[in-house]
Point group: C2
Chain length 225, copies 2
């Protein structure tokens, strides 16, 4: 049995080694890095590493980097799958805000019931991405291809649909909420300003302009699926 705390360590290890923004290929993780991400002291993490190794969830030699074993990876992906399915459920079935879902999913991801996960998955129509556009691993741990095209890459005169965000900070999500931009929002690119790389767009007949930073963090595609 993997405890709630252990599950969070596994999830963090997957995040830091392969999911965190800017990571191309798998990267090994250190004790302090993990500690700082989990907002714990490295001594605490060090102790947990021993337990996780004992349980065959990680590989770790004294003073060396941490890697997940197959079992650790599988189990971690299960939690990520649950987290993202619950976020999707909260967003699409219960009308939670984009901003609120993460915190509740952080709790729901630890509910132990294979059947529940599968039923929620089915209820949602086996979605590939969560409301932030993050890919939902399937029950075998396979992860759909992440969306990589940002709004900055869309040409003048073209339209696209918001599929994901690459920044999920409250600040950013709140700003998007203000702009009334969400998943599935259709954006038409009116103009691209060379001077400051901002872009002029139209959403639902309304025109306004977005900074380069915002455009970079909006991931888009041709259609929603």
């Amino acid at each position: 049995m993997i405890s709630l705390t252990e599950e969070n360590y596994l999830k963090a290890l997957i995040y830091l080694s392969s999911l965190a923004p800017g990571i191309e290929e798998k990267k090994d993780v250190g004790t302090s890095e993990l500690a700082s991400y989990l907002k714990l002291k490295s001594s605490t993490v060090n102790e947990m590493l021993k337990r996780l190794k004992e349980k065959n969830l990680i590989n770790h030699e004294k003073y060396k980097k941490i890697t997940l074993t197959h079992s650790g990876e599988r189990n971690g992906l299960k939690i990520i799958r649950k987290h993202r399915l619950w976020e999707t459920f909260l967003f699409t079935k219960l009308d939670f805000d984009w901003i609120e879902i993460h915190e509740v999913a952080e709790q729901l991801e630890h509910i132990k019931s294979e059947k529940l996960v599968e039923k929620i998955d089915r209820l949602l129509g086996y979605p590939n991405f969560d409301p932030h556009g993050d890919p939902i691993p399937d029950k075998h741990g396979k992860i759909p291809q992440r969306i990589t095209k940002s709004l900055s890459a869309v040409n003048k005169g073209e339209k696209c649909i918001v599929l994901a965000v690459s920044d999920t900070s409250k600040d950013f999500l709140n700003y998007l909420e203000d702009l009334d931009i969400s998943i599935k929002t259709e954006i038409f690119v009116i103009d691209k300003i060379a001077f400051d790389q901002s872009i002029k767009i139209k959403i639902r007949q309304e025109q306004f302009s977005l900074s380069r930073k915002v455009a970079d963090n909006l991931l888009v595609g041709d259609k929603f699926n």
Copy 2:
């Protein structure tokens, strides 16, 4: 903050003091009684009682009985409300079996989010009873009147609808599953046998007979609401 464990103690105290079968008016609870219900040692319970008292959730004097404070009762009822709402959700929205829902709800009842509870409540149409027929406390802690009429009290020639069960043991629920009897099942009483107090019934054109014990544990009404 009330821990998961503390929440389970509060729920158990409410159950033993007022909800357990056969309890007419509120009854005080003892340490060993609570321990045996929770399958813990009384020394363990004794320690927790100190913590609960410290947190103003129970009243307890050395060697005396335990009673819940107002706060303890309110918090306990909140957990019971969540438990029963989740059971209803699992049963009606996800097609879980009557038998499976309790175990999963035992986990879900501890999810901390007022908003989630209210959204689930709304999604379900503010139900008054869970799938076992147990009353769901409203958000203020008010408990709907429990159903008390059993199938044994239905007269020959009358029909009724199953609203609840007074025994929620796996044995009983499994047996009902076999008989294809569930919440909302319509039962017509063909005859009542004086000899062994069994009753002859008709369900969906099929006739069979039920023992007095089964009939006693099926709670019925005229209509579902």
